[in-house]
């Protein structure tokens, strides 16, 4: 009941995840992403402890395929799990257990793995990949979101009763710092992917201001003043030279 993409930006080395699912608050699983180490994202009937352990193994120097082997060896229910793992160099691997519902599957390419379960069909994973590969010059978060939108357009979690069964969505991108550069969540909504797009658009307006305010608080204007400037610039779109 989930579809995801994990990727490393081939230009910058940033690592990121985009995911959307029927379950609530999928972004609570921030243990799945570790800067300068990699990403391990388990889903379907996932076990929370598997991702941090996989990342510990990656950090020790194991390759993604070796990590996947260890995970498999110690899991009696591996056929119920779906997992994607990518390391800091972009080596990616994915596993879709035989009991992950219909339709379930994955596609792995250079610097990415796209995977989903209980999907309306294989077109959803193709949609993820097509979206991700559509605009390779964009920042990673945009590419991940295009991927989710591609999956959504291809049917996503659609069922007969519920054309938009996704209830939560998450976009997280890390660079070199311990903390994420982008970490946006829709925890409970009826149109999550569209809502995530709106949230990213809104956050983009603030992103540089927020970053600069943390670094140089002495020179920061108040947020109310910033919001007023934003409102003024939307009212007069032509007055700005940019």
């Amino acid at each position: 009941m989930t579809y995801s993409i994990i990727a490393r930006c081939h230009r910058t080395g940033r690592l990121g995840i985009g995911t959307t699912t029927t379950s609530l608050a999928c972004g609570r699983r921030n243990e799945s992403v570790r800067p300068n180490v990699g990403i391990s994202k388990s889903q379907a009937m996932y076990v929370r402890a598997h991702d941090p352990r996989a990342l510990n193994l990656l950090a020790l120097g194991f390759t993604p395929s070796a990590v996947m082997r260890v995970v498999e060896e110690h899991d009696d229910n591996f056929d119920y799990r779906q997992t994607g793992i990518i390391d800091r160099e972009g080596n990616a691997i994915a596993h879709t257990g035989a009991n992950c519902g219909k339709w379930a599957g994955h596609k792995v390419g250079p610097y990415y793995a796209a995977f989903g379960n209980w999907l309306s069909g294989p077109a959803v994973v193709d949609g993820l990949v097509d979206g991700f590969l559509a605009e390779t010059d964009l920042p990673l978060e945009d590419r991940l979101l295009l991927a989710l939108e591609g999956g959504r357009k291809a049917g996503g979690q659609k069922t007969e009763k519920n054309p938009k069964a996704e209830r939560s969505a998450w976009l997280r991108v890390v660079d070199r710092q311990d903390y994420p550069e982008i970490d946006l969540r829709i925890d409970m909504h009826t149109n999550t992917v569209a809502e995530l797009r709106l949230l990213l658009q809104e956050f983009r307006l603030y992103q540089a201001y927020y970053r600069e305010r943390c670094r140089n608080p002495q020179e920061a204007i108040t947020e109310e003043a910033f919001v007023a400037q934003l409102a003024a610039s939307t009212r007069e779109p032509c007055s700005s030279p940019h």
Binding site: N30, Y46, R53, D178, D183
Partner: protein
């Protein structure tokens, strides 16, 4: 830019944080805020997002909360602009509110908790957060933290240069004994973020045990759709 509370549950040792803010996606600054059996810290005012992971590492080296706080201040040329709360695994709580945080700003330290905020309507907001937190110590930590946020909001929340500003984002995080959170809910952009956090929280409570159980026993798990239908049927039975 926010108000909230960090705390250690005196019954269970769980560590958590609840925060609300006029800024968007305040949860963005809460990565690594807590680690099981280690400690909890947060740096707000003007956030320094690198502090959370540093504090966790210092806790893990054996530093008590006072020393962690001293190191965070010493490491930051802009500590005047920061508001820092630190609670270690024994529940020792310390805090710092920099002289240049936006008024009214301050903190309250109690046994196992720090309530803090800037741009507050007044001191009473902090008193309300503490009262909310202490109202029902027998409940789970996530309930106590959320009740504290609601009390802070009801007491006036944050005030900007031209009056009351709305809570646009909120976050609730609790760590128990695992490498991952027990509870982690966010509202990144909403007109009434604290109310929306409550709505998510109540819904998530219905599913939390199901999510844990299906991972442990996938062979016996029912599909989530079926579980949702059961919940809906129960609701209809209670409110026909």
């Amino acid at each position: 830019m926010s108000y909230g509370i960090i705390a250690r549950c005196p019954r269970t040792g769980r560590l958590g944080l609840g925060m609300a803010s006029y800024s968007l996606a305040v949860g963005l600054y809460c990565s690594d805020t807590a680690r099981a059996n280690t400690g909890v810290s947060i740096t707000m005012g003007t956030p320094n997002p690198g502090n959370n992971a540093l504090a966790i590492r210092l806790f893990a080296q054996g530093f008590p909360s006072a020393q962690v706080l001293a190191e965070l201040i010493g490491n930051d040329p802009n500590s005047d602009y920061r508001q820092i709360g630190v609670v270690d695994r024994e529940g020792k709580a310390v805090a710092h509110t920099g002289a240049k945080t936006r008024p009214w700003s301050g903190h309250r330290i109690g046994e196992g908790y720090v309530a803090f905020g800037d741009m507050l309507a007044g001191e009473n907001v902090l008193d309300a957060i503490v009262q909310g937190y202490l109202a029902d110590p027998a409940t789970e930590l996530e309930e106590r933290l959320l009740t504290a946020l609601e009390a802070g909001r009801n007491a006036g929340g944050q005030v900007g240069s031209s009056g009351r500003v709305p809570e646009r984002s909120a976050v609730l995080v609790v760590h128990g004994i695992f490498d991952y959170s027990d509870w982690d809910l966010r509202v990144d952009k909403h007109e009434k973020a604290v109310d929306e956090l409550r709505r998510c929280h109540e819904e998530f409570k219905l599913f939390a045990a199901y999510y844990v159980e299906r991972s442990r026993n996938p062979r016996e798990a029912i599909p989530q759709r079926e579980f949702s239908d059961m919940l809906a049927a129960n609701r209809n039975r209670k409110n026909p």
